[in-house]
C-alpha cells in the first residue's frame, strides 16, 4: 500500500513536469529558453514516470509475477538510454543553433561572437 502511494506521487511529479515542459515550449520567447524548459522538464518528468513503472513492476515481481521481471529490467534500460541521450541531444541542438546564427531574444552581449572556438 505504501508503494502504491509512492507510485502515485511519482506519477504526479512526472505528469506535472511534463505539462510544465510542454507549456513552456509554447510560452517562452526564443529558442534557447524553449530548449531550457522543454528538455529539462520533460527529462525530469519522464525519469519519474519510468521510476513509477519500475517500482510497480518490481513490486509485482517480488510477489511472484515472473513476467514482470523482463518489464522491470527493460524499464531500467529505457531509463538509462533516456538519461544519456537527452542531455547530449540538447547540447548538440544548442550548439547547432548558435552556429546557424540564432540569437537569444533581447541579447546585449555576445561573448562568443567572432571567435572560432571548437
Amino acid at each position: 500500500m505504501a508503494l502504491n502511494i509512492v507510485t502515485y506521487i511519482f506519477i504526479g511529479i512526472g505528469l506535472f513536469f511534463n505539462m510544465v515542459g510542454s507549456i513552456g515550449l509554447h510560452r517562452l520567447p526564443d529558442m534557447y529558453t524553449k530548449l531550457h524548459a522543454a528538455t529539462k522538464c520533460t527529462t525530469f518528468g519522464s525519469i519519474f514516470l519510468i521510476l513509477a513503472v519500475i517500482i510497480q513492476a518490481a513490486n509485482i515481481w517480488a510477489q511472484g509475477g515472473i513476467s514482470q521481471s523482463v518489464m522491470c529490467i527493460h524499464a531500467v534500460l529505457a531509463l538509462v538510454a533516456l538519461m544519456v541521450t537527452n542531455a547530449t541531444g540538447a547540447h548538440a541542438i544548442a550548439r547547432a543553433a548558435y552556429r546557424s546564427g540564432e540569437k537569444p531574444a533581447k541579447v546585449v552581449v555576445d561573448d562568443l561572437g567572432g571567435k572560432e572556438n571548437d
Binding site: 505528469l15 515550449l25 514516470l49 527493460h74 547547432a96 546557424s100
Partner: protein, 85 residues
C-alpha cells in the same frame, strides 16, 4: 492496482501540444527542439502503456525509439549547424 490510463491521456495531450509547436515554430532550431521533446514524451508514454497493457514489448520498442531518435537529433543538428559538430 495502479490506474495508468489518466497518465497516458495527459501525456497524449502533452504530445499534441508539442506537435502543434513543430508545425507552428519559427525557424528550424525551434522545430528541432519541439521534435526532441515529442520523442521524449513518446518514450515515456510507451513505457507507461507497456505497464498498462502488461506487455514488455512496448518497453523494448521504447529503448530502440530513444536511441534512434537520439541519432536523428544529432544528424539534424549537424545539418542545421554546418558540417562540424
Amino acid at each position: 492496482m495502479i490506474d495508468w490510463l489518466p497518465a497516458v491521456i495527459i501525456l497524449a495531450v502533452c504530445i499534441v501540444i508539442t506537435v502543434v509547436r513543430i508545425f507552428m515554430g519559427p525557424g528550424a532550431p525551434t522545430r528541432l527542439v519541439a521534435f526532441d521533446t515529442t520523442n521524449t514524451l513518446v518514450v515515456a508514454s510507451l513505457v507507461v502503456v507497456g505497464m498498462m497493457f502488461n506487455h514488455a514489448i512496448f518497453i523494448d520498442v521504447a529503448i530502440v525509439y530513444a536511441l534512434l531518435s537520439f541519432a536523428m537529433t544529432l544528424y539534424v543538428a549537424k545539418y542545421i549547424g554546418g558540417s562540424r559538430f
